[in-house]
Every structure is written in structure tokens, then in C-alpha cells.
Symmetry: C2
Subunit: 319 residues, 2 copies
């Protein structure tokens, strides 16, 4: 097996991950791979590097002469809002993001919370703690209406599972390309109409200039008082201050937040301890070494064959 | 609308339920309906009663002369193991049970627990309590193997949802009628082969002579050490003493138990407080007034038209 010996640099602050990525890439016959976990190591290996596979890369190195041979930057994540607005990344460098890898994880996360809320898991757990026989009748997801903002691979997987739960499924997207997946499709000029009938609103949109703070007080107050909001996209899709004051006023049944304007969410932040707010630590769609390696190696083959890359970011669209 | 004025008696210890049933039956034009909540009230209304719709009925009244006109006994529940073995119920009295009403509730219950366990909900809740940013990678249901014992309407609904989660789905049933629903079907003489490959075993079988204690030490030890057991059927499908000792030895990842040999599960019973045992109060498949009324009224029309009743119990089969 003779592979073109492109120089590849793998970067992450996590040494175990870096070692695993390097090993899995070498195993495929691409032997010219270096791993780096710090600014200094990245600086050392950048000269002659053509391809970067990275998480939390020190991008300020990318517009320096040592990076002049870098042509392609593959992020290990799905969200690239930081990268597209980063002035250090030369305009002619390809940026790709991971796509089609998170649908399973994120949809399982979403339904784990929807079911825990609708079946009243907290009441069941409380009853067990108290050893109290509490045979109550829970509600069902069946017949409820879920709205999914963003109908990419993640949104589509949530749609598919919502069907198995016999929910009504609406969607909002910019392109409308997947409108046929949902019962009712809305465009971004129809946010108010979109949200007003929903029992559950799931935010999976990428963060761009168009979607920043797209969920504000007006949208939240247009939702049904007992609706639930789920954010598995990016924190700044939602104006957190608005969400906090709207929920403090007693509007909305619950908010399930995996992403925040500032991450990690600081200790003592009010969202950690608000009733009916479920906080998780940006874990709904994990970039696993196995999944990312698989995606990267397929993309590397396309790169070497000069075929279009998967997950290529359009910096004007922002994703 | 002229309806034959059959005398109907509704019985439940719960007065609110009885009133709701009586009202919903009268609304359909069946005006000769009495409600009772106690032994004495039942005794008073039984003479000339032809149809009983009941929960926890004092069956010792049924072989007395006051019950001589009763022809049909509709239970408000799905499980009728108590009724089929009850010597007070005359052999020529039809017993029917509720069928096709619990699939939604029970399958939502099952997936709420499967997802909470596979996504590690307890760890997420613990992190929030401690305000600690804990971004871990959870496992997925995708690719896991679920085995469903009992492929009636409840089992079939669990199969359908398991497909949406991309699980491998095996099943065990007595009749084999629904074998085509599952990837691999087993008969009751193949319990050991059935359970040995499973990550999740869901018990939905009715309790009969053939299924009493069908899950014993041998079956439990044949399961994978990290498998989960879910019981939404009847408590005595599982030998609880065997389950307790097998789990105390460290075998099995979790048991999710909605039904018990003795209900309510007594305070202080070890199952309430064993690690990795999730106890709920026989609530996975609630008999809602709305659902049971709907079922009963459809069945009442069939009864009056002398058509075969839905959910008719075969006392030899035991369900």
C-alpha cells in the first residue's frame, strides 16, 4: 500500500486522544503524522505540515510563515463558529467540520431528557428514596408536538425518533431542503409562528450571525407556558439573560441546556441551580476518537484524490 | 339513539374514577349504570347486573345468588392472573382484560430507563448538583441488543421503538405469531440461548403457570454480567430472592422493576435500597379512565351485538 506521504499534524490538549488519533491514522498507512498537545509542540511540527486535525488549536500560529504549507484544517468538532470568525486563519485554507457523526448521540440525549420529564423521573426517584409506593399516571410523548430548529443530520435523526414516539414533528431551517421530513416546515422569518404550537423546541442550529440570540424574550414568551426548550446547538443561540428572566416569571416547564454562552458554565452561575433547568456539560454530541478518526480518514482519501471534502465550511454562511 | 338497557356495574375503590367511568358510559347512551366503591355497595347493586367493569372487585360475591345474572366481567387492567385462578368466578362468566392500551405507556417507560442508564443520567444529575463541569462520553443504545419476552401489543411497541434506536432486537414468545417482528425469535424451551447475548432483557409476559418464576438463578447467571433486566409484566415472573442474590454477587448492571411478588413493595424491603435497582410503583402501564372507557364502550357494543369480545381471557392459557 503506497500512500502519498502528506505531513499531518494532530493537535488536542488531551495527550491520550492525540496518541490514539496518531495511532489510528498510521494504521491506515499514513505514516507522516505528528502529535502535539501544546503551543510549543505545534510550533515545532508546523513547518511542512499540510493537513491539521485539531481540537482547541492555537490558531494564532496559522498566519505565521511556519504555517505556509498548511492547506486543510479539519476540526474535531461539529460547531465551527469560533473558527469561521477567526482572523488568524488564512482565507484560502480549507476548514472542515465533523458532520453526520452526532445524530445518534444527540438524539439519544434529547429523548433521554424528554422521557425523563414526561414520565416524571424525578418523582419516581423521590418515591424510591422515601420507599414510598407512589403509583401515579404519567403523561406521554405520543401526541405532543416537537419542533426542531435545524434539519441537518442531527435534526433529521431527532425527527426519526420523534416519529417512533408518535409525536407531531415540525421543523425550521434556512434552506428548506429537508422540509419533507416534517409535518410543517418554517423558515427563519417565521420563528413566532413556528414556536407557538410546540410542546418541545429543540435547538440544533449552527451559531452564525443570523442565529446569534435567535431565541430571545419575544420567542420565549410566544412559546406555550408549559413548553420545554432543549439546546444542543451552541449557547449563544439563546439569550441566556432573557431565558433566565422568562423562566423566573414562571413561563416554560423546563429548559435542558447542554451548551452555554460561556463554557465551562462558571460555578455559582444561576443556571446551575434554577428549578426546572437541566444543565449538562457540553456532552450531548461527543467527538469520539473512533468516530472522528473514521471521518478524518475518509476525508483524507478524498483530499488526496482531490475530491470535494466532507463537512467543508462556507465561511460566508458560517458553517 | 335506542340502546338495549343492560345493567352495568362499575367498581373501583377509587370514587373519582368510578364517577368518571359512570359518566363516560352514560354519555354514550347506556343509562343503566351503577357505581360502587365498597363491598356493601357492590352487594347492593349486583342483583340484575349483567356486565361488570371493575378494579379490585370483591370476587367472593360472584358465586353468590345475587350475581346470577352477571355474564361478563371486564377488568380495568391488562394482567388477570388473580382472576383466572380465582375459584369464586363461575366458569361460564366471560372475563376480559384490557389489551392494546398499554404499548405507548410501557414502551415510553422502558426507553426512559434504558436511556437514563446508557446516557448515565445519575452522573449528569450529580454533576449539576455539585455545579461541576463534567464532560464525559456516554454509551449509546445504538448497536446494543434488546430481548423482549412477550410479543403482544406491548412487546411489539417496544420492538418498534428499539428499531428507531438502531438496536438489535430479539424476542421470545409462546406462539411465535409475531416472530417476523424480531431479528431472532426464541420459544420458551430456549430461554438460556435467548438471554445470553442480550444487553437488555424486557419481561412483558403474562403471569401463568408456565411463566411463574421463569427468570431464576440459572437464567440470570446466563445473562451478560453487565446486562440490564427490566420487568413490566408481573412480579412473580422473576424469582426475587434469586435476583437479589445474583445482583449482590455483582452480576448484572441494573434491574428496573415496576412489578413485585408482593405489592405494594413493603417499606424496608431490600429492593428499595439496592444499588443499581430501580424501583417504581406498578405505574408503567396505567389504566387511565379515558383509555379504559374507550376500550370498554367498544367492547360493550360488541357484547350487545353478540360479537366476540376483545381481550377475552382463555382461562386454560391463563391470559
Amino acid at each position: 500500500m503506497s500512500k502519498r506521504q502528506t505531513n499531518i499534524l494532530v493537535f488536542s490538549p488531551n495527550l491520550t486522544d492525540v496518541e490514539a488519533y496518531v495511532e489510528s491514522i498510521r494504521k491506515e498507512g499514513y505514516l507522516s503524522v505528528q502529535g502535539a498537545t501544546t503551543f510549543e509542540e505545534a510550533e515545532k511540527y508546523l513547518p511542512n505540515t499540510e493537513v491539521i486535525l485539531a481540537w482547541k488549536f492555537p490558531t494564532q500560529l496559522l498566519n505565521k510563515p511556519i504555517s505556509s504549507s498548511v492547506r486543510w484544517f479539519q476540526s474535531m468538532g461539529a460547531g465551527v463558529n469560533d473558527l469561521v470568525t477567526d482572523p488568524s486563519i488564512p482565507k484560502d485554507m480549507f476548514i472542515t467540520r465533523i458532520v453526520d457523526q452526532f445524530g445518534t448521540y444527540i438524539s439519544e440525549y434529547v429523548f433521554s431528557f424528554l422521557l425523563d420529564i414526561v414520565k416524571d423521573g424525578p418523582r419516581m426517584r423521590q418515591a424510591q428514596l422515601k420507599q414510598s409506593w407512589d403509583s401515579f399516571t404519567s403523561d406521554t410523548l405520543k401526541g405532543k408536538t416537537i419542533g426542531i430548529a435545524g434539519l441537518g443530520s442531527i435534526g433529521a435523526e431527532i425527527v426519526r425518533k420523534a416519529r417512533a414516539f408518535d409525536m407531531n414533528v415540525n421543523g425550521l431551517s434556512f434552506s428548506g431542503k429537508q422540509a419533507s421530513l416534517v409535518d410543517q416546515h418554517y423558515f427563519p422569518n417565521q420563528w413566532l409562528e413556528f414556536v407557538k404550537e410546540l410542546d418541545y423546541l429543540v435547538q440544533t442550529l449552527p451559531l452564525t450571525d443570523q442565529t446569534h440570540y435567535v431565541i430571545n424574550k419575544d420567542i420565549l414568551l410566544a412559546m406555550k407556558p408549559n413548553a420545554c426548550l432543549i439546546n444542543v446547538g451552541r449557547g449563544a443561540l439563546i439569550n441566556e439573560d432573557h431565558l433566565i428572566s422568562v423562566m423566573q416569571s414562571g413561563h416554560l416547564q423546563a429548559a435542558i441546556l447542554d451548551v452555554f454562552e460561556k463554557e465551562p458554565l462558571p460555578k455559582g452561575h444561576i443556571l446551575w441551580s434554577m428549578p426546572n433547568v437541566y444543565v449538562t456539560s457540553h456532552l450531548s454530541g461527543p467527538s469520539t476518537v473512533e468516530g472522528v478518526s473514521h471521518f478524518f480518514i475518509k476525508n483524507l482519501k478524498r483530499y488526496l484524490e482531490e475530491q470535494p471534502l466532507h463537512g467543508l465550511v462556507d465561511r460566508k454562511l458560517g458553517y
